[in-house]
């Protein structure tokens, strides 16, 4: 396959997926979709309603992805969670705290948290210090997040974004405080660590379902359906390729 054919194929997939996404978003605006239960996201919803009642706060960490790399998508999924949880919990005595390990990501987290705050609590001033950059390398970032987990009356930690295996230090810090952790990463080593250290680990593409499961809008639900459709195409292509190869045609 030449690079031009690959390019055309790539743009074809993007256009196909984009059209499907737009169409399904419009379609499901009226009749919402229902998905299988994912325990971790049920816990997130429960935690959000609890912080308003018991005067604790949520901690949301979206990792240290560079916005110029593909790992930024996991951080964008984390931003959708910040937006939703920010709106739900901004009226509580202790608004949520977000931590990031990337400067550009921190600006986005600040802006998202501020937008969520202004959507519900226009009377109170928003404190920019609720969105924090804790370090610029993966380990310094983790080292900076640990005191927040320990000292700030955190009731639940939501870690969704690009983390490496060092995320194990965060889950351990949360475990010492006996606060639950809901965590997902796009990195395979981090997923292995989270599988061992959290109660309900989110594996693979479940990370990108955050918006759909926290009712962020029909676009998020539609994107899950588009993922499923594309996955079936990939499965058919893999099986078809294997059959053709066995038949000696490829």
């Amino acid at each position: 396959m030449t690079s031009q054919t690959a390019g055309m194929l790539g743009i074809g997939i993007v256009i196909f997926a984009g059209l499907f996404l737009a169409l399904l978003t419009l379609l499901y605006r009226r009749s919402p979709l229902y998905f299988r239960n994912i325990l971790a996201y049920m816990r997130v919803r429960r935690a959000a309603s609890r912080v308003v009642e018991d005067g604790t706060r949520l901690h949301i960490s979206i990792g240290s992805a560079n916005l110029l790399t593909p790992s930024a998508a996991s951080a964008l999924a984390g931003l959708a969670i910040i937006r939703h949880l920010g709106e739900v919990t901004s009226l509580s005595d202790h608004p949520p705290v977000t931590t990031t390990g990337s400067a550009t990501l921190n600006l986005l987290a600040q802006d998202t948290l501020r937008t969520a705050h202004e959507a519900v609590a226009t009377e109170q001033a928003f404190d920019m210090k609720n969105a924090r950059l804790t370090g610029l390398t993966p380990l310094s970032y983790v080292a900076g997040v640990m005191p927040s987990i320990r000292d700030e009356k955190i009731s639940t930690n939501v870690l969704i974004g690009n983390f490496g295996p060092e995320v194990g230090l965060l889950t351990e810090a949360a475990d010492r405080q006996k606060t639950p952790v809901i965590a997902a990463s796009d990195s395979l080593p981090a997923q292995a660590v989270l599988y061992a250290t959290t109660q309900e680990p989110l594996i693979g593409e479940e990370l990108f379902a955050a918006g759909a499961y926290t009712q962020a809008g029909p676009g998020h639900a539609a994107s899950l359906l588009v993922q499923d459709i594309l996955r079936w195409f990939i499965i058919l292509a893999l099986i078809g390729g294997a059959v053709l190869k066995m038949a000696g045609l490829l």
């Binding site: 390019g7 055309m8 743009i11 997939i13 993007v14 997926a17 984009g18 996404l21 737009a22 978003t25 916005l67 110029l68 998508a73 996991s74 964008l76 999924a77 959708a80 400067a103 600006l107 986005l108 600040q110 501020r114 937008t115 920019m128 210090k129 924090r132 950059l133 610029l136 390398t137 380990l139 310094s140 983790v142 080292a143 900076g144 320990r150 000292d151 295996p165 060092e166 194990g168 351990e172 796009d186 395979l188 997923q191 292995a192 660590v193 599988y195 061992a196 250290t197 109660q199 693979g204 593409e205 990108f208 379902a209 918006g211 676009g219 998020h220 994107s223 588009v226 993922q227 594309l230």
Partner: protein, 225 residues
Amino acid sequence: MRRIFPIINAVIAIGAGLSVLIGYFVDVRGMTEFRLLLFQWAVVVGGVAVLVGVWNLFSVHLQKIRAKQPGSIYSLILLFFLLLTLFLLIFPLLLQNLVSDDPTQANTVSAANAILLDGIIIPVEVSLMAVLSVTLIVAAIRMLRTRTDLPAILFLATAFVALLGIGLRSFLGQIPVLSDLAQSQLVMNILALGGARGILIGVALGTLTTGLRILLGIDRPYGGE
């Protein structure tokens, strides 16, 4: 204006995103140069964002010290070393560029850099990695108590085989059955690679739809409704 700004933001973000995407797939004259120009701007904005981020870090810890919050002594140490690093690395560079033509100034900067990097940052990060490895072993043992389903047992058995069969090979040498099993075609190329590819395909599809949501203006991480 409060309504117009989000629309302008969305138009700029979607336009830039589409230009980069088209430039990535199709080699249209002028599009590649435009894509690189956008990347250069993004790098400059990223550099400025680091300064804003450092100010954020500084102000958060200053507030902690003022409010005498628990652990504020660590904030004090952090601010001291933040300012020391700025003083040691930035001011000599500024002096070198603005005032002096003396090449020994550059040596002073690299010596300070070496002390900070080799003497503080690397040892501290290596120590954290050591703590992490102990933490993971404890977590694996704890997992045996909290979760005893089949996936958990398979996970731990695989970790055990990989650790003894490959990870500790330089200390223990080849362990007859475990090393052969860990390096076997079945484990390495079929089970591990197949599983990893499955997860990565899921992540790639999630990445694609997340990008599309931004290109369609459904998600706006740059603020606004």
